[in-house]
Structures are given as C-alpha cells and as structure tokens.
Symmetry: C2
C-alpha cells in the first residue's frame, strides 16, 4: 500500500497564475483519488517582494518565504515540483509591482534607483535578489531534459503552424562582435582541490581592491572574461552605419532579464549609441535627472516629465531628429511607437530570434510592415548559431513542421552553472586597471587588462552537475536511440575545460551502440539542421545559455511554441521538477482577460508536466493509482489536441477555462474506461458521465461570461476570491468537481 | 653519366602560344646544357582541325596528328610533358578557326550546323572530336595534383590581390534545382567483372533502341542520371520570377565548353526561357532559319541577317521588349551589350563564380555597375558548394589573402573519369520512354523514366585511376603534413560506390600519423574554409568536376588567379605531365598584342611547371645538371616575383617578353652562383654577366616596339616567322641566347 504523497504546485504570475485558479481545483480532486496532496507555493513576484520585507510589514500580512522553502525541498529526494513560468522582473516591472503592493496596503519601500544612504543600499540589495531571473537559479538543483512530447510532435505534423517563406535574396542576418567581447577574452581553469579564490581589481596606482571572495569546490571550473566598452560601442556604431548603407532594418537582441547585470549595461550602450546626439547634447541634464539608458529610452521619457513643457518638447524633438539619420529600427509595437530600445525586457533574444526566423527573417518596421533585419547580438559566442540558421534558411527555405525532425536538449543547468550564475561576479569597471582571479596561495589564474566601462564577469561550473549532465545525456541517448551531440567549442577556454571532463565522465558509461559526438556550435547546429530537414532527431547536449536558447529556437520551429515542450529537471538529490513552458506573451493574456474576460493561456505545458509528475510519483512511491492518473492524463491531453480543445485566441470562443473542462472530461473518461484499477474506474465513471451529459451547459456557462471587463483586484497580486470567481464561472462544472472530492 | 633526355613542350593557342615564341628559345638553350632536348607538339585548335582533315589536304601541308602522338607518349614511362592551356572550342570559335584556315589555303570543310547527308554527318563527327575540351581528356592519363607553390603563396601574402568587401546584407546567392536534376536521379553500380553494357532507350511502343554499347573493366563504376527538361525550364522560370520580385540580378553559370554535350542544351533552355516571348512568337521562322538557342542569343542575331530589314527590326524590337519584363541580366560586356546568354562559352562556372565571389558577390549590370546577383547553376550537385562559400563570406567577410591558408587538390581525373568523360554517353531524349543500362546477361542495372527533351547521361570511372587517386592523396598528405579530406556525398549513388573503394584502398597504405577524413561537399568546403581563415591548409581530394571547380575557386581567392598554381599530372604509366594554369582572358591578350604590340600574358605557370619537369627529369634519369636547372629556375622565379618583373597590363611597360628576359637573367645568375656544378657555373657566368650588363639596352629594345599594331598573320594559326619576329624583338637579347647555344 502506498502512503500519502505530495506534489508541489507553484503559484506564479500573470496568465499562468490565473489559469491555476481554474486548473488546480480539478487537479486536486483527481490527485486525491490516488492519495496525493497537491500543495501550492507562492513564488510570484509580488509574493517574493513581500517576503523580502517581511520584517517591515504589518504582522497580519503574509510573510513566508515560500521560494526559500521550495529551494530546500529541491535538495530533498521527495521533491516533486510542478514549476509554472514566473516573471523575471525588469526594473520597470519591479516598480510596477511595488506600486501595486503599496496601494494594496503593503508597506514595502520604494525601489531606490540610485541608492545613497546605507538604508537605501540595503533596500536595493533586497530588491536585487528579486530582480531578473531570480527563481529558476534557486530551484534548478538539477540539469535539464527538454523534449517535444510525442503527442505534441504528432499534432504539429498534422496541424502545422504557419512558417514565413524565406527568400534566397533575404538581406537578414545576425551580426556580432569580432573581437573585444566575452568570447575573445575568456580564460578558464579547473580547481585541482577545494579552495578560495579572490576576484581583484588592481588600479593604475597599484592599489588592490577585493571585488569578491569565493570558496570553490574541487573540480569546479572557473572562468573570467570581459567585454570592452569601447569596442562594444564601436561595434554598435558600425552596425548602425552598415544598416544605413544597406537599407536593412536594425534590431537588438539581448537577454537583459536573465543576464540581469551584464545585458542591461549592453542594452544601455545600444541606447546611448543609437541616440548619441541626444545623450551628448543633454548629457548633463540627463545625469541630473537620473536618466539611465540601461532602462531604455523609456527612462528618458519618464525622467523628463518633471521638466517644463518647452524643455520636454526640445528633447522629444531631438529624439525625433535622431530617426532622420539613424537606420530604421525594429518595433515592438509599431502602432504605439514602441521600439526595440524602449525598455530592456521587451526583446529577449531566445524568443525574439526564433520569432524573426519563423517570420521569413523579418521584423516589423515603423510603418507596421515586415522587413529584412540586422539582428545585433554583441556576444559572438552564441550569436553565431543564429547566423548559421539564417544562412541555412536562405539556402534551404523555411523549416517544414510537417516533416522536420526534433532537437531535444540535455542542458547543463544545476547549481547556477556558467553565465547564468554570474550575476554576483559581474562588474562594470569604474577605472582602467587589471582584473584578476587569484588563488589563496597567490597564484594568478586569470588576468585581464581592462578599461573603465568594460564589463567583467566570472562564471562557476561545479563538477557534480557536469558529471550528472554527462550521465543524463547518455541516458537520454540510450532511452531515445538518438544521436547526442555535445556542443563544445575548442576555441573557447571554458569549453576546453569541459571537454576534458566530458571525455572522462563518458568513460563511466556503457556507450556501446550509442552515437555520441562533440562538435563546435556551428558544426553542431548545422549537423542537427541537416538531419532535421531529413526528418531525423538529434539530441543537443549543451551548456546553460545554449540550453535556454535552443529550447526556444528548435521548439518554435518544430511546434510553433516552446510552451508545449516537456521540461524535466531530474534533481540531483533524487527528486524531480517539472517545468511548464515559457511565459511568452503572458502580459497580453492578462490584459485580454481583464478587458474581455477571455483567457487564451494554453495550459498544455501544465498537463504534460503533471502527467510526468504523477507517473514519477507512482514509480517512486509504488503507487499504481498515481501512475494510472499519469498515463490517463497523457491520453486525455492527446485527445484534447486531436479534438482541438485548446484555448482560442478569440473572445467568445473556448478559452483556458473551457479547455480545462475538456481536459477533466477526457481524463475522467480515460479513467472510467481503463481496466487496471476498478476503484478508480468506478470513482470516475460518474464524473465522466456527468461531464459528458452537461457538456453543452458547461461550455455555455463558460462562454457566457466572456465579452465584458472583469475586476480581479490587481495585476501582480490579484485578489484570490475575485480571481477564483472569475476563473471558475460554471456552477455546473464546479459542482461536478466538488462532488468528486466528496465522493 | 646521363644520356640525352627529352621534355615535350606543347604548342597551343592564343596568348600562351604567343608567349611560347619568346620563352621556348630560352628554355631550349638552358636545357641543352643538361643534355635535354625540348621538342614541341602542336595541339592548337588549328593544328587539330588540320590533322582531322589530313586526308583532304594538299600533301604539302602539315598533317601530323600531334595530339595522337602525345596521347601515346602519355602512356609511356618516359613522358615528360609541359602542357600549356589550349582552346576548348565552342561552335563559334570552331567556325572562326575554320574560316581562318580556309583563308590561309587549307581546304578544310565548313562546319555543318545541321548535317543531313552522310558526308555532312562524317564531317560533323570529325569536328565533334575537336570541339570543347578535346585535349585534356586525351592526355590526362593520370590524376591531378594541384597546389600553390610556396614562392607564389609567399608572394600573394606579401602582395595581396584586391578582394571586394562582402556585406552581411548581400542578396547574392547560388540557386540550383531542388529535384529533377542529375543529382536526384543518379544511379550507380560497380562492375564485378569485365563485361559489356548496353545503353538502351525503350519507347512507349516497346521498341528498344541501342544508344551505345561499351566494354567495361572489372571494378569500373558506372553511373546513369538525367535532368528533366520540364523541371529545368520550370526552374529557370522560377529563378527569373524570383529575381523580378527581389530586384536581384540574374546570371547563368554553366560549363558549356567542358560539358560540351549536356551544358549547351542546358544553356539553350536558359536562352529560350528568358526570351520565351520571342521564341514563342517567332518559333516557326527560327526553326526555318536554323536558329539554335544552344549557341546563345547570338545565333538569333546571326541567322536573322538573311531576313528583310523590317522583319529583322521586328525581331530585335521583340528581343528588346523582353528586357522590360524580365529581370536584369548580368553582362559579359556591358559596353557592347553582351549578356550572359549571348554565347555559351563566355560565362564558365569555374571561372565566373570565383570572380563573382571575389567581387563582393556581384556581377556587372547593363549600366556597367556591379550588383547583387542570383547565380543560377542548375546542377545542384556542385552548385551547393558555391552557396556555402557565399554564406561563409556573408558571415565572415571576404577572404584575406595575407593570412589565409591554402586548399591544394588531389583530383580523380585519369582515363576520362566521371562526368568529364560522359560526352559520348550523353543523349537528349527525342521521345518519352525508358533509358536503361543493361548488362550482357540482360540484368537491368540502371533505369529511368524519361520524357522528350530530358538530358540523360552515363559516366564511367575506372578502378585503376581510383586506386591511384587514393594513393596520390595519401602521398600528398604525407609529404605535406596536411589533413586530407575526401569529398564524397553519401546522398550521391556514385559517391557511395567510390566510398567503398576509398575505404578499401586506404587500407593499402600506412596512414599512421595522417589526418584523412571523408565528408560531404558542404561539410568539406566548410571545414576547409574554417581552417583557411585561420591560416591552415587542407587538401581537397575530389572527383573530376570538383577538381576542376576547386582548382579555380581556391586559387582565385588565395592568389588572385589559378594560373599560378602548380599543376602536376603524375601519369599512371610513370611519366609526368606538368600543366601551366588556366587560359583566363587569353583572347583579350592577343587583341592587345595585335593592336598595341604588348603581351600581358604571365608565363609564371610555365616557369613553375618547367622547374618541376626539370627536377623530375633529373631524378628519373639521374641527371644532376637537370635537377640543378630545376632548383635554380625555382629560385629565379622567386626572385622574379620579389622584384616584380611579371608582365604589366599596361602597354609601354614590361610585358611578357621583358619578363622572360628577367627570368633568363635570374636563372643564369642562379646557375652562375651555385657551387654544385662547376661546368654549369662556368657556362652560365658569361650569360649572366652579359645579360646584367645589357639589362638597360635589352629592356629598352623590348619596350621600344610597343604602342603600334603588328601583323602576325592569323589568330588561330598565326604565321610562325612573323610571330617569332614580333615576340623576339631584342637583337641584343637574342644574340646572348644564341651565344649560349653555341657556347
């Protein structure tokens, strides 16, 4: 007999959180029948802000740091976590959330843009932990296994998403720095034994400043690298001149959310180079006003509001003038005049580049028309893969979702591996000098001559995750019978260190009959694409950044979205975390719900994750009912896809809530018709027939509420009662689910 | 002691033949000092025409078939042949030569365009053997070893040729058929034992027509393939529409000279598709006039001359009308209005594509300006490598001659290997039906369903040349310490057969320490280019077509010309043939000589070939003097390059003849200062000092004649006395050389 077990379901933000109000009651009711409790943990942006200032709040207000609790759980063998997408907050988003919480009566402090006093610095430090990608690095105590579920792939082949045609004469391309960036300066070493390292800055005067001290483990790989500010700015200027000459539109693609320290600076340079005339002319004033280009041109608009109208007009006029001699810039929203440089979180490389490639290599111009584009991505390390894919599409045409193979990913991610854990080791140089990494015994392992403005960063990659990653790659290659390619560039110092470990750890496994290769990034993506257009699958085994990029890039080509991917984090401690796809255009979804009471969010990712989670629970706790819940949920998901019961984008048609109803119906039917467990069959037969009989009524009730605005009491922290009412509008359906719990 | 030995120097056409009048006396004089006779063999187009009709000529006229004699020599171990570039005659060229010979009193018959009587067919058959690439296939009784000599590479690094900048936004590309071409229909098999095969056409009525019977050797690889006429024409139309839409210029790149049966047909379809309106409207008239689109638009201009002026005007007007709705076409000569489609021999893919790539991916438009271009190359088999290089240049910029590595070639060529020996097995289908290849026992080995107009061809590749090719690749890899890549595409039936042999024959060699790989064409060129931009060399080991294409492509990037390559044919019988680079723009050179008495032809290829030839003679006949002549000639060539004594393009400056003088001077000096052979030292000391003393006089004499027109008595067959006088205008220099012979 199995004992009660637990699945932890995360409560996050925006559309996924709204959907949770509808889906979770169903899931809880079904899971209870297998003695599984489904508990929630609030890791929303609002929740994390509140938890950060728990000591300063009214004692009646919720204060638990549920993210910290989850992080502890992730290191336990019992962990079984369903992780929904959450906000990686940019500064503007953070400020929005703070304002909303303050309005709701939470005494959280303002965000100090330019902290001066110790108190302000303390507040800023707390908020820094909330900024950007603050959740995943904490929870991801395992590497990443992402793939297209068979049902989803089959559906995509039958119902292919639209793919823009590619012209061989397309002018679009990805442009990147040739020297002067992180790639060309990377140095790397492996710790022969555990010990401390110091990151130091040595000034021109010889004075040594300790930037950071760290304790490294044995076998840990440590990298140092920097991007030259002067070369970065010269590069931006060159790309602008080039676009001006060739008539190709200019666009910028960085990841200011995830790379929350280095990329906002890169983004800021793009802003101040593009609008050079404005920043030069009004430099002193902007300084005074606290304009920060790293927050985008919106920072200018924002800060100049305090100025007299005539002065505002002059600045707006000067901004407008810039457009007359700068090349056309890609727009985020051409109707509202929101450019690529408006705020740093609008264009995120791993989503924006696949979108561009899917769209014939084009982005949208000021006139709302799509145009060939120079995609500017300063970091050459990763930008090259996009240029390779663009060249491939020019030569071979757009990918064909009806025939193409798949590129699943095994990604090195655990314990904040590589660049994605570099934020606390990233520094913008205040002066010329030397940055160096020194061992406890004084040995200098890494040394760079830097100039003021350069961005220096260090990355850590622990040995145990690497070993686990190699094991996961071999396991996946074996289970899927698919070639696996380690993407390691012999021209990168870091990858050379990794290659040594990969070679060694591969020897720990039976490789007989497996096709496991090591290729540089260009070779690897080309090899994978050549196979892909011939219908063949290839596992990409990559570092952390490529994991993130590729698990958007390939799924968006194959499936039209990355949200439909199965995303498993086999935790190193033995537990499992099941992630449910990307946030995508979640903000627009919330807006549509509030304005028209229609939620187009597709919970497919949750369905897929939940099925694996239930199966794993069943296996680990020897709970056959749980396994059965998992396999029947998979069957129900397949049927949902086949019957086209995913949410429509159009108000008045089936939305997220209706889709959940059909999932419940199909899931109940699958349980009612299985022959493995009589108790479950009986329990769900009643629900299945009730739901089938009431289908028309329920769908009518669900659709009837659509079309009018609703109030959910907040964006970042909506009112739970109001939201639940909005998200569960069918009394008939609610009653059926409630009856299951009681029954 | 060595006995007298012999070097056979070919007498060819155009500029190389003119240069021979100046260079050969020098070479003979130097070689005599090592007991080497230098004899000539006339393999010029005119000579070959005359030999073909020897039976019909005045008995006093020269009649020996020197090409046939040379072919016999090539299969002897004593062969030591210096092979200069010769004309691969197109029909217009052939007709020009015939007219000239007739005017000179040779009773050679007219070229029968449309032979009807048996006599006409007999004449046509004789001329067919003269057409196109008729010399190399006969002489090339060995595979090919081509590389950039160290001195030439060093010179190119010090004095880089111009390279057009590449823009990442370039719209240029290579476009090719996706299905319906030779690539997609290729079938291949290997003869398990010697035997006959029949190539048969089976009509819709079941009637079997024998197209060709052949005796194959054991181990011979035999391929059949076809290009669909309908798909080819649809492809051309699509490329034209695409250019019209994208504004990219249209250009065609085939090799109608070498691929003398299949490519003129392909070219003809391009003409009749581009000028579709004209050919449709005037179809019946054109038929009557004997217009043949395979000869280019010039055929229309030519044939309509017999029409009344008003009718001519109408046709010319209709041709002009075409340009208003077809895309702009690349020009061969924009001043004279000569387009890509004027005559089939103007644009030859292996020269035109490197020129385009070197020129920023652009060709010249009607207005004389360079523009982004669609390079149309129907055969996808080989076109893909150009698209790969174009993508590479878009991404990485133009190649840099000062730093780039080299891609030498080991090419499978002997005994008319592959497509280059397919001319007698190429058929344009007259009706729908089946083409098949049948063994003597009736087994059908290859079968294709074809339609009227399709181009079907078979290729042979004998086993011994393949084995020799593998051996040569291993030898070159060993001697040069360079990785060698076999370019074999697993998606090609022919290459799969070759791969089996390569794998087997590699086992016959010691591969220890060698880096020998097999890659498909895209992989191979990409691998080679990635190494090249990092300064590394990579041997390309390829089939016959790629040999031809790559030994222009890479040298033109590396050295600015392929004429400076060392091109050795280690003959399978044990002899050696030393080829001296490409013809290039030889016709323009002759024109300049006749109009301005300046010959810009660079004999560097002859110098390099001669040095290897002398060294080989020395080794084979144990003639130390010969070896010394070789090494000193190499030193002289290096000095010539260093001192910039190559011919200038400008009339009035040092030309081919002056360059020969400096070669003689430096060669004599090298011999006069060596310490290995006292006799030679003494013999050449006098010449060295004479030439050094008379340098100013000789150069003045050589330059003084320039600027006025000269008469050499013919283009295809110039008058030997007149030409010799023109090419040896310095009495001082002539006297010094004569003195050496006597001396």
């Amino acid at each position: 007999m199995s004992t009660r077990s637990k699945i932890t379901y995360t409560f996050t933000d925006e559309a996924p959180a709204l959907a949770t109000y509808s889906l979770l009651p169903i899931v809880k009711a079904f899971a209870a029948s297998a003695d599984i409790d489904v508990e929630t943990r609030d890791i929303s942006l609002a929740g994390r802000i509140i938890a950060s200032f728990a000591d300063q709040l009214d004692s009646s207000q919720p204060v638990e740091d549920e993210l910290a609790q989850l992080a502890v759980l992730a290191t336990s063998p019992d962990a079984n976590i369903i992780k929904l997408p959450n906000i990686s907050a940019s500064v503007p988003q953070l400020k929005g959330a703070i304002a909303e919480l303050q309005a709701q009566g939470f005494a959280v402090p303002d965000f100090p843009e330019d902290p001066q006093t110790d108190a302000e610095k303390e507040v800023r430090a707390r908020y820094s932990k909330v900024l950007g990608s603050a959740v995943n690095p904490v929870l991801r105590e395992g590497n990443s296994d992402r793939r297209a579920p068979a049902a989803v792939k089959a559906y995509a082949r039958k119902h292919p998403h639209s793919m823009g045609k590619w012209s061989m004469a397309s002018q679009s391309h990805a442009d990147y720095m040739r020297g002067g960036d992180f790639f060309s300066s990377e140095q790397s070493f492996t710790m022969p034994q555990a010990g401390d390292v110091r990151i130091e800055f040595v000034g021109k005067d010889g004075k040594v400043e300790l930037k950071k001290q760290l304790s490294l483990k044995e076998g840990e790989v440590f990298d140092g690298m920097f991007m030259s500010c002067n070369k970065l700015r010269a590069f931006f200027e060159k790309t602008l001149q080039d676009c001006k000459e060739t008539g190709v539109m200019w666009s910028l693609h960085v990841k200011a959310t995830m790379m929350k320290v280095s990329h906002p600076i890169v983004f800021g340079h793009a802003v101040s180079v593009y609008y050079k005339d404005v920043f030069e002319k009004h430099g002193a004033l902007f300084e005074e006003l606290g304009v920060n280009p790293n927050n985008g041109l919106s920072s200018v608009y924002d800060k100049i509001k305090s100025l007299p109208a005539s002065q505002q007009e002059e600045i707006l006029h000067d901004i407008h003038e810039v457009y007359s001699h700068r090349p056309e810039m890609a727009m985020v929203d051409s109707v509202k005049g929101i450019t690529n440089l408006h705020i740093p979180s609008d264009v995120i490389v791993d989503a924006s580049m696949p979108a561009m490639i899917r769209n014939s290599g084009q982005m949208w111009g000021r006139d709302g028309k799509q145009k060939d584009t120079k995609a500017v991505m300063p970091e050459s390390t990763y930008a090259r893969i996009y240029q390779e894919m663009i060249n491939f599409c020019k030569t071979n045409g757009a990918f064909d979702p009806t025939t193409m193979g798949s590129v699943p990913n095994v990604g090195l991610m655990a314990q904040k591996a590589e660049e994605y854990g570099s934020h606390d080791k990233t520094f913008e140089m205040k002066a010329d000098g030397i940055m160096r990494v020194v061992l406890a015994d004084g040995t200098v392992k890494i040394q760079h001559e830097v100039e003021a403005g350069d961005i220096w960063r260090a990355c850590q990659t622990k040995d145990a995750p690497i070993r686990d990653w190699v094991k996961l790659a071999v396991t996946r290659a074996r289970q899927s019978g698919t070639p696996a390619v380690f993407w390691l560039d012999p021209e990168r110092a870091h990858d050379r260190q990794l290659k040594l470990k990969v070679d060694a750890y591969l020897q720990e496994h039976d490789l007989n009959g497996l096709d496991i290769r090591v290729m540089d990034y260009n070779e690897a993506i080309r090899f994978s694409m050549e196979r892909m257009i011939r219908g063949k699958d290839t596992i990409s085994v990559t570092g952390n950044v490529l994991r993130d990029y590729l698990t958007d890039l390939f799924p968006i080509m194959e499936l039209g979205t990355s949200a439909k991917m199965l995303s498993i984090v086999p935790l190193m401690a033995g537990g499992g975390m099941y992630e449910t796809g990307a946030g995508g255009s979640a903000p627009k979804h919330v807006q549509q719900l509030i304005e028209e009471n229609h939620l187009r969010w597709d919970s497919l990712g949750e369905f897929l994750a939940l099925a694996v989670s239930l199966e794993e629970t069943g296996i680990k706790t020897d709970n056959r009912k749980a396994k059965l819940l998992g396999t029947t949920l998979d069957a129900a998901t397949g049927k949902l896809l086949d019957n086209n019961k995913s949410p429509s984008r159009k108000t008045g048609e089936l939305d997220n809530r209706g889709s959940h109803f059909y999932l419940a119906l199909y899931w109940a039917e699958a349980l009612a018709t299985q022959s493995e467990d009589a108790a479950l069959r009986e329990r769900f037969s009643k629900l299945a027939s009730t739901l089938a009989e009431q289908e028309a009524t329920i769908v009518a009730e669900l659709n009837a509420v659509q079309g009018s605005p609703v109030d959910i009491g907040g964006y970042y922290r909506s009112n739970p009662e109001l939201t639940s009412q909005v998200m569960r509008p069918s009394n008939t359906f609610n009653a059926a689910i409630d009856a299951l719990i009681q029954g």
